[in-house]
């Protein structure tokens, strides 16, 4: 078959998916004008939700599509934050610093990738964590950071709280949308197909000429920039940078939970997982440590008994996967 | 004659592929059977299924009348089935003695122990303290068979004992196996047709997961064996289709 013939056989997006997309667009429009009507608390909470969705989407990109289970994504959350702090200190306005800081973290990710991507799964997981710790150590030496005390991005206080909140909300909404759309485009394109091939059988993929390393590196760097941006947006709303918080491993635990419970390796899974996690935090967050212990136990149960998450449950009922990354071919030849 | 091993319509799969397609076979106590066939016929898969390393997707396996289909490999050793696997699979970093001791400690008690296997395979005795990985092919094969024997099995499975060995070494191996005749039920997978026909009282030929031929060497013609080996069916279908399966 010629390429044109094959392409002609690819089915267009199923009706179910088009309906979902339509609903999503409508929802985005509503969210965009929401701040005009909702209270400050709602706006803040929604901002946090958008940030969670970004984290989940990026971790899913890494673990679900590239097979890289990173317990060290907090390295980029922390680095992005640190870069932002330093840039603001150097005189850059805070809002551009949000994105430039993330890019700086991405550069570090690129350097790290040459090293960490050569490891096997288990080693990669812990090594990324150790590296995050090492970076945290180094960052806390910076006199500006004052060890564990941290520092505040006072430049943000120059803006009126209302305007600041609104700006961060809109930036988060836009970034989240772009990130999700970007992930969609990436996965639907060549990288996605290559990642899928690697996921199914790495050796076979290499034998057809796919450079596993290049594909993984691309995904690793992009996911790290994504995590860093989500982290700097979070920092912009939190204002104070503390190494222990920004470099904390709990970020990776949250990401893991959201992706695992939602459905690893699916497109809609992480979004569902983020929504669920957000809801759980709202309802049970006051229980403090017991809540987190419960999160851990739920994670174990899902890992052992429902490894495909909520989307997996849906698929088990025989339904088609919503917004699937797989291209479906028509049956007639 | 007591049936030592009964395979009833067993099916073995590799993913979606059927490696063994509904095979029925009965091996009597004390028989020496050779399984021959081209590469990919399923001989090793069959051995692994009998030994418990490969699951039976369908069908059943009985050892002296008891159903062992669900029994895992370590249990089957204790029930009396021992396999000297393809490639020998010795524990390279452990000494020959340790290799033997593991099977002795986890297998059955009986006439075979460290002293008696060393008697039977005299070339092992000076090697006991050497790491198994440093031995020659012939020596390793002797240790592998000894390791299977030391567990006192009733049924001894030998997968490709001549693989990678010089003709002299193979002679040595078969000489040792000769001493077991009568006392032990043996099933060997053998690529060397001549040897198989000389040593075994029964030759079983497999092709593509199916039994093609089964009989005593003296009853089988060369032509029959060759056809069975390559899975050539002299049936109406083939004549009409015009192609022989090769």
């Amino acid at each position: 078959m010629t390429k044109a013939q094959i392409v002609a056989h690819i089915l267009p997006m199923p009706a179910q998916d088009r309906r979902i997309l339509g609903a999503a667009v409508a929802l985005l429009a509503v969210l965009a004008i929401l701040p005009l009507m909702a209270s400050a608390l709602v706006v803040d909470k929604l901002t946090y939700l958008f940030i969670l969705i970004m984290f989940a989407a990026m971790w899913n990109l890494l673990a679900g599509y590239a097979g890289l289970v990173s317990v060290g994504q907090q390295a980029f959350i922390g680095l992005g934050g640190y870069a932002m702090v330093r840039m603001v200190e150097a005189g850059l306005p805070p809002f551009p610093a949000i994105f430039l800081g993330a890019l700086a973290a991405g550069a570090v990710a690129w350097v790290m990738s040459w090293f960490v991507l050569r490891m096997k799964a288990g080693e990669f997981a812990i090594a990324t964590w150790v590296i995050a710790e090492a970076i945290r150590s180094m960052v806390s030496f910076d006199p500006l950071i004052q060890g564990e005390t941290g520092t505040s991005i006072t430049a943000l206080n120059a803006y009126a709280p209302e305007m600041r909140r609104l700006t961060i909300y809109l930036l988060s909404l836009v970034t989240m949308t772009l990130m999700i759309w970007g992930a969609w485009a990436l996965l639907h394109g060549r990288t996605g197909a290559q990642a899928q091939a690697i996921r199914d059988d790495e050796e076979a993929a290499e034998s057809v000429g796919i450079t596993t390393f290049a594909v993984k590196q691309r995904i690793y760097v992009l996911a790290s920039i994504g995590c860093a941006v989500a982290g700097t947006l979070w920092l912009a709303s939190a204002i104070t940078f503390q190494p222990r918080t920004s470099f904390g491993v709990q970020w990776s635990v949250f990401m893991l939970f959201m992706v695992l419970v939602g459905g690893i390796g699916t497109f809609i899974g992480p979004i569902l997982g983020a929504l669920l996690f957000f809801a759980l935090q709202e309802i049970f967050g006051d229980f403090g440590a017991w809540y987190m212990a419960g999160v851990g136990i739920v994670a174990i149960l899902f890992a052992l008994y429902l490894p495909n998450g909520i989307v997996g449950l849906w698929l088990n009922k025989g339904r088609a996967e919503p917004l699937s990354m797989r291209k479906l071919l028509s049956q007639d030849r | 004659m007591t049936a030592a091993l009964e395979l009833n319509q067993i099916v073995g799969r590799h993913g979606q592929l059927q490696a063994i397609k509904g095979m029925t076979l009965r091996i009597d106590k004390g028989e020496v059977a050779a399984i021959i066939g081209a590469n990919g016929a399923g001989k090793t898969t069959l051995m692994r299924m009998i030994a418990g390393l490969h699951p039976c997707a369908e069908g059943s396996i009985a050892l002296f009348g008891s159903d062992v289909t669900a029994m895992p490999a370590h249990g089957r050793l204790k029930a009396g089935i021992a396999l000297s696997p393809e490639g020998r699979r010795l524990f390279g970093d452990m000494t020959v003695q340790e290799n033997l001791m593991i099977a002795a400690e986890n297998g059955r008690r009986g006439d075979w122990n460290l002293a008696s296997v060393c008697d039977a395979f005299s070339q092992i005795t000076p090697l006991l303290a050497r790491p198994a990985g440093g031995l020659s092919g012939g020596q390793r094969q002797a240790v592998a068979i000894a390791r299977a024997l030391i567990a006192n099995p009733d049924v001894l499975l030998l997968d490709e004992v001549s693989l990678g060995l010089s003709p002299v070494a193979v002679d040595g191996v078969y000489q040792s196996l000769e001493t077991l005749r009568g006392a032990m039920t043996m099933i060997l997978v053998e690529q060397d047709l001549t040897r198989a026909m000389k040593f075994a009282g029964r030759v079983i030929c497999m092709a593509e997961g199916v039994l093609e031929l089964d009989g005593a060497p003296k009853d089988l013609t060369r032509a029959q064996i060759t056809d069975a080996y390559f899975g050539i069916h002299k049936t109406a279908d083939t004549a009409a289709g015009g192609a022989a399966h090769a």
Partner: protein, 308 residues
């Protein structure tokens, strides 16, 4: 400087015990237990409860805690890890991270955040020291801990090399199918190995509680130290784990001479340097011995694919 070196070596004994359990799980069960550090903390908490809550003597508390930890390890292997291993490489990692989070926060909920220590219960061992020629002081507690570490690791070594169980463990680690053909039940071996690994973690936790304090959230840091020691010393041999532990202890001890913050960083840097070196030179597949197999597990494309 000399004192720092001595301290570093003694600290290494503690790290070696901490790392030994992790190494055992990696090498034998092929399982990455990211909650290993939390197990150590759990061991400390249980021992502390025996001493503070039940008023028992420290030695009795230890004698009770270690078998309890062993039983816990056996149970976790049976109920959680075995199942997790069937799910592919992601699931064990995800499971143990969840386990770690559950343990940390559960312990925090039960015991609160005040730091706890066994230091008050071991008489003057905490600060007494011996003087050796050269004006060097060796703390008695670190000295005893180091001796205990050597004894314990030696005992595990003897267990692995001279007992039937140890042979079964090494065989399973090398080639679990061939071991099954020799009658070794891999699940029994794995459960035994897990029991030993968790008991060792518990012992390390007790050491920590004696020489410093433990908090419920100390686990992750301990995991990192254990992992660093394992990688520095080379995976798959107890001697290597001891060397790795000592190397880490030395790095931290010498780093502490610059500043307390730097001590941890020094350890991280040594770890990363060794890791980089190993990645560059790769690991020889070798003759398929159990050490080479374990090293290959980490640094080679899965040469073990296809072996169950």
């Amino acid at each position: 400087m000399l004192e720092a070196i001595v301290q570093g070596v003694l600290l290494g004994g503690y790290y070696a015990v901490l790392a030994a359990g992790l190494s055992l799980m990696f090498g034998v069960v092929r399982f990455i237990n990211l909650a290993h550090g939390d197990m150590a903390v759990l061991g400390a908490m249980i021992a502390l409860w025996f001493v503070q809550g039940a008023g028992l003597h420290v030695a009795i508390a230890i004698a009770l805690t270690l078998p309890l930890m062993g039983a816990l390890g056996w149970l976790m292997q049976r109920m959680i890890f075995e199942r997790a291993l069937q799910g592919g490489f992601l699931i064990p990692i995800l499971t143990t991270i969840g386990l770690g989070a559950a343990l940390q926060n559960g312990m925090f909920g039960l015991f609160g955040s005040d730091t706890k220590s066994l230091g008050a219960y071991i008489g003057n061992l905490s600060w007494a020291s011996w003087e050796i020629p050269g004006g060097i002081f060796i703390g008695q507690l670190p000295g005893y801990m180091f001796l205990t570490a050597i004894l314990v690791l030696g005992a595990v070594h003897v267990l692995l090399t001279r007992t039937a169980f140890g042979r079964a463990v090494r065989a399973t680690a090398t080639d679990s199918e061939a071991a099954a053909l020799c009658g070794v039940d891999a699940r029994r071996v794995h459960r035994g190995a897990a029991a030993i690994a968790v008991a060792l973690a518990g012992l390390a936790g007790i050491f920590l509680a004696m020489r410093a304090q433990v908090t419920p959230f100390a686990g992750p840091m301990l995991l990192i130290f254990a992992f660093e020691a394992v990688v520095i010393g080379g995976i798959g041999s107890l001697r290597g784990t001891l060397i790795g532990g000592i190397a880490l202890g030395l790095a931290q001890s010498l780093g502490a001479m610059i500043s307390p913050q730097f001590s941890l960083l020094a350890g991280h840097c040594v770890f990363l340097a060794v890791l980089a070196y190993r990645l560059m030179s790769g690991a020889a597949a070798g003759r398929g011995g159990w050490r080479a197999t374990i090293s290959a597990l980490f640094f080679h494309k899965s040469m073990l694919r296809g072996k169950s």
